[in-house]
């Protein structure tokens, strides 16, 4: 009950509601406390680009940006992001123009089955926001939280380099 009263102080939401801004649009949602953010995105908001590959926060397929930082949306409860901003793979393109990282993953063949791809792209976007000209080592360190079973990773590194404007 206390928690609710704190919420009420902050915002005019009905009891049990949370406000989450996803890809720039605010959503007022009534969530079960146990609902993981990834399922809020996939099942409540229909944003199925964010994939689920494991339940131990190992694979990174569910990577999204929380207030601009990369996080694994399977280790966050939906209610924990009340009042915060989430960006998913669907939110990267602007007015139909692909994000340079998306373009680069396509052009450099940085994907095979594509299941891990949204997670890798979100992790790469987060890296390039903080480090616009990363070294190869920095790229590998920044993407080490994402697993790919198909590609062998080489073209993923090339894609991030290409997106950063490095000659590949």
């Amino acid at each position: 009950m206390l928690a609710l009263s704190f919420s009420l102080c902050r915002k005019e939401l009905a009891v049990g509601q949370v406000s989450i801004t996803v890809n720039g649009a605010e959503h007022i949602l009534e969530l079960e406390p146990r609902e993981l953010l990834v399922y809020v995105l996939r099942e409540r908001l229909g944003l199925t680009g964010t994939n689920v590959g494991c339940d131990t926060s190992s694979c990174g397929a569910c990577t999204v940006l929380l207030d601009g930082e990369s996080v694994k949306s399977c280790t966050l409860l939906g209610v924990q992001v009340d009042g915060h901003e989430i960006t998913t793979i669907e939110g990267l393109a602007t007015n139909g123009t692909m994000h340079p990282v998306q373009e680069a993953f396509h052009e450099q063949h940085g994907l095979q089955c594509g299941y891990c791809t949204p997670g890798f792209i979100m992790a790469a976007v987060s890296l390039l926001d903080e480090t616009p000209n990363p070294s190869e080592e920095e790229i590998r360190h920044a993407l080490e939280g994402n697993l790919c079973r198909c590609t062998g990773y080489q073209n993923i590194v090339r894609a991030v380099q290409a997106a950063a404007g490095v000659e590949v």
Binding site: L2, S7, P33, S57, T75, L76, L77
Partner: protein
């Protein structure tokens, strides 16, 4: 399950007093896996993400204060990384960047896992844990804080405010053995600091992360002493004998690095 989200430390302590069954959660690195596995079904979670007082770090009388909400990503950033290089190195080996953005020092202390990556660097730097409840505050040296595998001295109404550490700018380093180059739970981990004396602390080689100290003159025998101080077990990640062996090699290499 209830999720309680206090927006100040005072609210957090009050909530913890009223709901002692509430499990504190910061980055969720450990808590969420337990939840996803259905190994834990807490009646409530105490979501500390919105408690600003637990964040960040500061210098205090020659020591460094680390808020329990300090993330691994923050521990890797200068100038903190220069003050506590072993902690920064340890932080670099935690999970991936997504986990480092969320996971906190306080979470590592709260879980008190024998494999907690932050614990050996904190041990060699003489960390003291500051604990609070509505009843007041207390300070517990880290070796006394962790009392067994995944067990600490927190009373049910208490929260970890942070840790105070010394040994800044001293020679120190961190090493970790795992089966691959990223996202590993340590087979064995080690922090070494040389600063007036020799200190080593290891993880994953006993029920609790353990600190070993010796005089500067004991450099040659120190690796063996560290290995002997371990009480490792055989598990799916490695054997006890390998863990001892690796501790000896790693300690020697860490000393080489620190004594340059």
């Amino acid at each position: 399950m209830d999720v309680l989200t206090p927006r100040s430390l005072e609210q957090a302590l009050r909530l913890k007093a009223e709901r002692p069954d509430a499990v504190p959660i910061q980055g969720g690195t450990d808590v969420m896996v337990e939840l996803n596995f259905d190994r834990a079904r807490p009646a409530a979670l105490l979501n500390l993400n919105e408690v600003a007082e637990l964040r960040g770090w500061s210098r205090q009388n020659g020591r460094v204060w680390l808020g329990s909400g300090l993330t691994y990503a923050e521990a890797m950033e200068r100038p903190l990384a220069e003050a506590l290089p072993a902690l920064a190195e340890a932080a670099r080996t935690v999970g991936g960047p997504q986990i480092r953005n969320r996971g906190t020092i306080g979470g590592n202390l709260g879980t008190a896992s024998p494999a907690g990556d932050a614990l050996p660097p904190l041990l060699v730097c003489g960390a003291e844990v500051k604990i609070a409840s509505v009843r007041g505050e207390r300070i517990v040296p880290l070796p006394d804080f962790v009392v067994g595998p995944k067990r600490n001295v927190l009373a049910e109404d208490e929260l970890i405010l942070g840790v105070s550490v010394g040994g800044t700018e001293s020679r120190q380093t961190f090493m970790k053995v795992g089966p691959r180059n990223a996202m590993v739970i340590a087979v064995v981990s080690l922090a070494v600091r040389v600063d007036g004396d020799l200190r080593a602390a290891f993880g994953s080689a006993g029920p609790v992360p353990t600190l070993v100290r010796a005089g500067l003159g004991d450099v040659d025998s120190f690796p063996q002493r560290v290995a002997e101080a371990a009480s490792p077990i055989d598990d799916v990640r490695g054997t006890a004998s390998y863990r001892r062996h690796a501790l000896r090699i790693l300690t020697r290499r860490a000393l080489d690095r620190c004594l340059v």
